[in-house]
């Protein structure tokens, strides 16, 4: 219909106004160049985070600020979205994240508070379910995944299975939801995230020296890169992965990120380039006047901002040189 999409007018305009409050390059530069963590926090206290920073008793608890901010923003965007299902499906990512944290805490015996309280499921309910091994309250697909994790861990004692199983449930459901709601832009986002996850899985599995069968089982379907072609790469040197992807969208990212990973054993460049790649994709929808694109883009921009704040603060706490903090900072969406 001619005017149907204008239901997005309010939400898009509001998100555009909210975008102006995102931290800019200059503010990040000042945080990076500050000599102490306290000084970096002072920069943060001049922004929208001021109230939360004022209440912070210990610098090391800054994660709570970031988690609260993310769930606050997510709930606003969810509330103003004229088709809440499209934004609502993104909440599953936080549920899965929280489940990962809970399972890892349980299997590795460490306590963690890196929860994101923006998921669709009550956090305490998830906590109880994992600690008591009772997943009856979870939706069916999550329940089956949780049981599978428990069974696999009993046999193999390998916590890596948590990420692999939960990522698969996550992306299967996201792709289904995007197709069901006929949201090609979201599907495009998920497909790209699947490709990037698969590339990282391939390199990780290869470095762990595991078999091709194992890799073929854990690679996610629905990506643009064929699973069997990726699985075959495990027997080749990493350089041939670079040449295989030379004409794909992932050429630069794989070239630079993989080289860094095989030389220094650090995935941080690949992680940064992956995030930048998604940012570039979402920027394509930034100026859509009526549609879900700017809402998804803004949520991503907020996640990137939070990631960048974390990188700076962790870097400051650990007294990393400014240069090595700067090279990890993700590109801005705005």
């Amino acid at each position: 219909m001619l005017i149907d999409d204008t239901i997005y007018g309010y939400a898009v305009a509001r998100v555009k106004a909210m975008e102006t409050h995102l931290l800019d390059q200059g503010q990040f530069e000042r945080m990076i160049n500050s000599s102490t963590t306290e000084e970096a926090l002072k920069v943060l206290s001049e922004t929208g985070y001021s109230a939360a920073v004022a209440e912070l008793d210990d610098v090391h608890n800054f994660e709570t600020i970031l988690a609260d901010e993310l769930s606050y923003i997510f709930n606003i965007v969810l509330k103003i979205s004229p088709i809440p299902e499209l934004i609502g499906m993104l909440a599953l990512r936080y549920d899965i994240h929280n489940l990962k944290v809970l399972f890892k805490a349980k299997f590795l015996g460490v306590k963690s508070d890196l929860f994101i309280p923006a998921g669709s499921m009550d956090l305490s309910k998830l906590e109880n379910a994992v600690s008591e091994d009772n997943f009856l309250l979870l939706p069916e697909k999550l329940r089956r995944a949780a049981n599978a994790i428990n069974e696999d861990f009993m046999i193999n004692r390998d916590p890596q299975i948590i990420d692999l199983i939960l990522d698969r449930v996550l992306y299967d459901q996201l792709i289904d939801a995007a197709r069901e709601h006929n949201a090609p832009f979201l599907e495009g986002l998920f497909v790209r995230q699947i490709d990037l996850t698969n590339l990282k899985t391939l390199i990780r599995v290869k470095r762990m020296g595991l078999s091709r069968d194992f890799l073929a089982r854990v690679l996610l379907p629905n990506g643009t890169l064929a699973v069997d072609r990726l699985a075959a790469m495990i027997e080749e040197p990493l350089e041939s992965l670079i040449s295989m992807l030379a004409i794909s969208d992932y050429a630069d990212l794989v070239g630079e990120g993989v080289r860094e990973w095989s030389e220094k054993g650090s995935a941080s460049t690949l992680e940064k380039l992956s995030d930048d790649y998604i940012t570039t994709y979402l920027k394509e929808g930034k100026w859509v006047p009526f549609g879900v694109e700017p809402l998804v883009g803004y949520l991503w921009a907020k996640e990137i901002e939070i990631k960048n704040i974390r990188i700076v603060l962790v870097g400051k706490i650990n007294r990393l040189p400014a240069e090595s903090i700067r090279e990890r900072i993700r590109d801005a969406y705005i």
Partner: protein
């Protein structure tokens, strides 16, 4: 139908369709404006100006409606006796502003909703946002011109 009724249909279309275009256009801009104002109430003045722009099509339609009503004596002393063909002539003359007023009002509203997004980030660029909307306005003005020329050409 007599000529007078056919001419009245022209009045109804000019005022009704062009007015609907304006109403939809203003409505679209209003939704976007509310989104911006909920974050940044200081921009109320700017958004009000932008929201008013798609109102012109409705005014053009009303103007044409009045011109026809005057010609045929609906407003005035007494009704003019119209032949069926004269009635059709008034109806045809009303169509350009009715059609172009309807569509340009809506599309102008869409452009202006984007202009609201523009001033959310760059309030100083409001003029450019208006210029884009005025490009749409051109075609409502052309339609009004054609309608008025046609009206003046009708012999009573």
């Amino acid at each position: 139908m007599e000529g007078i009724e056919i001419a009245m249909l022209g009045v109804a279309l000019a005022v009704g369709l062009a007015g609907s275009g304006s109403a939809i256009g203003i409505g679209i801009v209003g939704q976007s404006a509310c989104g911006l104002i909920s974050e940044d109430p200081d921009k109320f003045g700017q958004t009000l100006l932008l929201q008013a722009l798609p109102g012109t099509q409705g005014i053009y339609g009303l103007l044409v409606g009045f011109l026809i009503m005057q010609d045929i004596g609906i407003v005035g002393e007494e009704l003019v006796e119209l032949t069926v063909w004269q009635g059709y002539a008034f109806l045809m003359a009303a169509l350009p502003i009715a059609i172009a007023g309807f569509s340009s009002g809506i599309y102008q509203g869409r452009v202006l909703a984007s202009s609201i997004n523009l001033i959310a980030k760059r309030p100083e660029e409001m003029g450019k946002g208006i210029v884009y909307a005025v490009m749409v306005e051109t075609y409502a003005v052309f339609a009004l011109l054609a309608t008025i020329l046609m009206l003046f050409g009708i012999d009573l």
